[in-house]
């Protein structure tokens, strides 16, 4: 950090002296210099809704992963209270077998968040690779990869995922691999678009002239410069991921009983909306809470990382 200088200068902005300690040039009207990360952080922190959403989302994750260790009932515990309404003993009530709904929702939230985060991770890594290779090599490779992506996108992914999950079982990571794999072409298309323009920039040409290998150019120049778009997409994928997982589980092809997820809980509670509403509303509210905070977060990140995309906002 350079200190604001008080010395008089011959003309505005000309270099005065070089600080021997830091090697930085002192100038008149020196502004505190900020790294790109600091700039992004400043823009992000200004976005109150996104910051609030981030806090709520982190709390939800803690709630889902730490909560089950602190709560007195396990999700498998069968208590003697059948179908009781929410009370101090059972904050979310119990189902007809006596399962404590609070423990069930904790477990369901944990499984659903685990799957949603994995979907985002798999789709982002896979899609970034897909898009970078496609955009960098262009020609035949690009054509083959992108036509394949188009094909995957023509078939409703919920149907495709249900067909595959029906055979390969209902473990959480299999669901995540299937749904993540089906979202990867979407990320791939977006990343390819970015890479196509980045690869024509001067610094890529310079790197190539210096003898950088293809892999180095892709990893050091293309991926970092497409990073903003990738991060925003990854965030939004968590929201669509939790909706996809719960939809699949709702139809009976995702996470399956005796294990549970928020989708499974809604399947079990849907017959009791008017008689025992707590079985239906609590799991649903948590899905909305996760998806909503993640969507707000993604919106804030887009403004912070990629200001060109939101021209209307200062």
């Amino acid at each position: 950090m350079t200190e604001p200088t008080t010395k008089a200068a011959p003309s505005a902005g000309t270099p005065l002296a070089t600080d021997p300690a830091t090697g930085r040039v002192e100038r008149e009207f020196t502004v505190k210099d900020r790294s790109q990360f600091q700039q992004t952080m400043r823009r992000f922190l200004r976005h109150k809704l996104a910051v609030g959403s981030l806090i709520v989302f982190v709390l939800l994750v803690l709630f889902a992963f730490v909560g089950p260790h602190l709560w007195k009932y396990q999700y498998t515990t069968i208590t003697p209270d059948n179908s009781v309404a929410p009370s101090l003993k059972h904050p979310f009530g119990t189902d007809n077998l006596g399962h404590d709904m609070f423990a069930q929702v904790l477990r369901g939230l944990q499984q659903s968040i685990k799957v949603a985060l994995s979907i985002a991770l798999i789709a982002t890594v896979g899609g970034t690779l897909w898009g970078t290779i496609s955009g960098y090599y262009r020609g035949f490779v690009d054509n083959a990869l992108m036509r394949f992506a188009d094909l995957v996108l023509t078939i409703p992914s919920l149907a495709l995922a249900a067909a595959l999950a029906n055979n390969f079982g209902g473990t959480w990571w299999i669901i995540a691999v299937i749904l993540g794999g089906l979202s990867a072409p979407y990320v791939g298309r977006v990343v390819r678009g970015m890479v196509l323009s980045i690869r024509e920039r001067e610094y890529v040409e310079a790197a190539r002239a210096l003898g950088a290998s293809d892999i180095r150019i892709m990893l050091r120049h293309l991926v970092p410069n497409a990073f903003a778009v990738v991060v925003v997409n990854a965030t939004l994928l968590v929201a669509s991921g939790i909706l996809a997982e719960t939809s699949l589980s709702f139809l009976g092809f995702g996470v399956r009983p005796p294990d549970t997820s928020l989708g499974v809980l809604i399947t079990l509670g849907q017959g009791a909306v008017n008689t025992r509403p707590w079985l239906f509303y609590f799991p649903g509210l948590f899905i909305i809470l996760v998806a909503l905070t993640v969507n707000f977060l993604g919106d804030g990140l887009r403004d912070a990382l990629d200001p060109q995309q939101t021209r209307q906002r200062r």
Binding site: T154, I155, N166, G284
Partner: protein, 328 residues
């Protein structure tokens, strides 16, 4: 325009062929159609299993199976043999498709009209109460699981019916089994009555994304140079809005709508499951439960075709709306 149309149609053909291959491979990975017979207790004689394998074509290699399936489909319109010998897959898909398509069609129509109106208004009155309200509801519907909202609306419908002691909302099925008023008009109003709640559910699922998109696209156009010029030369603001801004802002919406059709078909499966419709949703779940490979392939291929056709229509509309595209 004719050359452009022909070019777009020709491009769709390889996509269609590609999707037959993809659908075939995916369904082959989705399990053995004879699983339930093989697991039967007592086990059926090997002769029975061999006969079934022959009837379903499973005794052939994958390429031969694919070729036979494609040949039957193109030459005879035959979707292949079903696991249950009495079922005719083509006829089944036909009758279920009609039920689903009218749901999707009306949902898209309502969602688009609503999305354009609110999207444009919130862009024109940016940061107004209206803008914040529509943005909030946009985000809410974007984050709400379709099936949860469907169950919610269904329960509200039931609750309302109980309170007014009348069947105002139909909450089960796509039409009544026994109809009191057996006239053409009676049939139409019956079907329409059953459609109200599911159409709202699916429509709002599509609306959420499209209103956000319309707003963003409208804001971009409103800040562009040609709109500023139109204002500067003194055009009435209404004319600037409709002729210069709206027309340009709506062009990208056609593509986005077409791309979302696949997701809406997925949403239709969920909506139909909740409201117990006899549409494509229930048909697909039946095919999964029976592991009926030919039914699954037919289903996936038909929905892929719908998506491809919608994309083709969007491409053609794009060409009409934006002359630069068709002359490129």
């Amino acid at each position: 325009m004719l050359a452009y149309t022909i070019r777009r149609v020709l491009i769709s053909i390889p996509v269609l062929i590609g999707s037959t291959i993809l659908v075939f491979i995916m369904v082959k990975l989705s399990g053995d159609p004879l699983e339930s017979i093989k697991l039967r207790n007592p086990p059926p004689p090997p002769q029975t299993i061999r006969l079934e394998e022959h009837r379903l074509g499973l005794d052939q290699s994958w390429p031969v199976q694919y070729w036979d399936w494609l040949k039957g489909l193109v030459l005879h319109g035959d979707f292949g043999a079903a696991v249950a010998p009495s079922d005719n897959i083509g006829a089944e898909i036909g009758s279920h498709l009609w039920v689903t398509m009218r749901l999707v069609f009306f949902s898209v129509l309502i969602a688009l009209i609503l999305a354009i109106i609110t999207g444009v208004l919130s862009a024109v009155k940016q940061y107004s109460v209206l803008d914040y309200t529509t943005t909030f509801f946009g985000f809410l519907f974007l984050s709400m699981p379709v099936f949860w909202f469907a169950v919610l609306l269904k329960s509200w419908g039931i609750w309302y019916n109980q309170n007014v002691h009348a069947d105002t909302f139909y909450t089960i099925g796509d039409k009544s089994v026994v109809l009191a008023n057996d006239t053409t008009w009676g049939h139409i109003s019956d079907v329409a009555g059953h459609m109200i709640l599911p159409t709202i559910v699916l429509g709002l699922a599509g609306y959420a994304g499209w209103t956000r998109f319309t707003r963003a696209s409208m804001l971009e156009v409103l800040n562009s140079d040609h709109v500023r010029l139109a204002r500067a030369k003194g055009l009435r603001s209404r004319k600037v809005l409709v002729r210069h801004a709206l027309r340009n802002a709506l062009i990208p919406l056609t593509t986005v709508t077409a791309l979302d059709i696949a997701a809406l078909l997925g949403g239709a499966i969920l909506t139909e499951t909740v409201f117990q419709w006899q549409g494509m949703g229930s048909l697909f779940i039946k095919s999964l439960q029976a592991k009926d490979a030919h039914l699954m392939m037919g289903w996936l291929l038909v929905s892929a075709t719908i998506v491809i056709v919608f994309n083709l229509i969007a491409d053609l509309l794009y060409g009409i709306l934006d002359p630069r595209i068709r002359h490129a």
